[in-house]
């Protein structure tokens, strides 16, 4: 099944759905990064499918709100604007009034395409404990990935040069699959490190 947006770009809806599902799944799991929760049901009993469909529905009911000439892709429009906002809204709902969460923030970048990491960074940083010894934590991460060339290069690309995914792939001449596997191993190390250092989000 495919769909054509106003920019006459043919979208493979199956592929789009998978990407949105992966984003939402990881996005919601990152919320519980330090809680170790493995539930597939999130806020108000919603599951990943529900958030993805809510995002697609918002687009299909108001396709004119997506402006492909701005350079923003449909994937980015739905994942970085709609789904992120939907989850943010749920986090601010009555059910979650007593907890301040990692991704509870206002969307202020509706009109421009956004770099996910740089946009999220200021919001997320405020929820991390100031008192932790992050130099020690990072030294631990560095030590844990020693010998894993791909993970080391990705880590260096992100922390040393602030590179994005495609820049790291190009700069270090790695295949996409290598990158995908490398960042996954790096994520596992980060999770283990967070647990080891009892790293928690600050709360209200």
């Amino acid at each position: 099944m495919s769909n054509q947006n106003d920019g006459q770009e043919t979208i493979d809806l199956g592929e789009l759905y998978l990407q949105l599902y992966a984003f939402t799944d990881d996005f919601l799991k990152t919320r519980t990064f330090f809680r170790g929760a493995g539930s597939t049901s999130f806020l108000a009993g919603k599951e990943v499918h529900d958030y993805v469909m809510d995002g697609i529905e918002k687009y299909l009911r108001n396709p004119e709100k997506f402006n492909p000439s701005s350079g923003r892709s449909l994937l980015n429009y739905i994942r970085l604007h709609i789904i992120r906002t939907l989850i943010g809204n749920d986090l601010r709902s009555a059910e979650n009034r007593l907890s301040k969460d990692l991704f509870a923030f206002e969307d202020r970048d509706e009109e421009k395409d956004v770099d996910y990491v740089e946009t999220m960074l200021p919001h997320v940083e405020t929820y991390f404990d100031e008192e932790m010894d992050y130099e020690k934590i990072m030294a631990h991460v560095e030590d844990a990935i020693k010998g894993d060339k791909t993970a080391e290069e990705i880590f260096l690309g992100i922390t040393g040069y602030g590179l994005k995914r495609r820049e790291i792939i190009s700069e270090f001449g790695m295949a996409e699959t290598e990158y995908n596997n490398g960042i996954r191993r790096l994520q596992t190390v980060l999770k283990n490190t967070a647990l080891q250092f009892k790293l928690k989000q600050t709360s209200l």
């Binding site: 099944m1 493979d12 809806l13 199956g14 592929e15 759905y17 998978l18 990407q19 949105l20 599902y21 992966a22 984003f23 799944d25 990881d26 996005f27 990152t30 990064f33 499918h49 993805v52 469909m53 697609i56 529905e57 299909l60 009911r61 994937l75 994942r79 996910y116 990491v117 999220m120 960074l121 997320v124 940083e125 991390f128 100031e130 932790m132 010894d133 992050y134 130099e135 934590i137 990072m138 991460v141 990705i154 880590f155 992100i158 922390t159 602030g162 994005k164 995914r165 495609r166 996409e176 699959t177 990158y179 995908n180 596997n181 960042i183 996954r184 790096l186 994520q187 980060l190």
Partner: protein, 138 residues
Amino acid sequence: MSENSKKAKTDFIRTILTHADSVSSNSEAAGQYLSSEGLNTEAIKNEGLKRIKKLKLQVEADKTRREMEASEQHKQKAIEWVNNLLKDINFSFSDFVKKENLVLQNRNLESLTEDDIRNTLIQYYTLKFLDEDAGKNK
């Protein structure tokens, strides 16, 4: 907090966020991520397509319903408009036809009954109001 510690904190969070961005950057990465999480990508895709198909039908049905409602509203507005127009003793249908460049199926205006004129005017104003509304919503 020292500058070094601040940078280390930013780097730590940036690395976490890069992962979330990466897993959905393309369909291959998405598939690999979902498989690594023990999820069935084909089942997810099929479920998604099934839901999208159902949603598209709902969206189309809602659109048709809204259009029909809007059309009925415009027709009511046109009826009121025409009633007032026909009450005006200065109104001349032949002048109106010339002014608005109306193309009528029956070119012999003399043979039109009062009901024919009324229905023609209602049809004309219904379409006019619909066009105006569509123009506003663009």
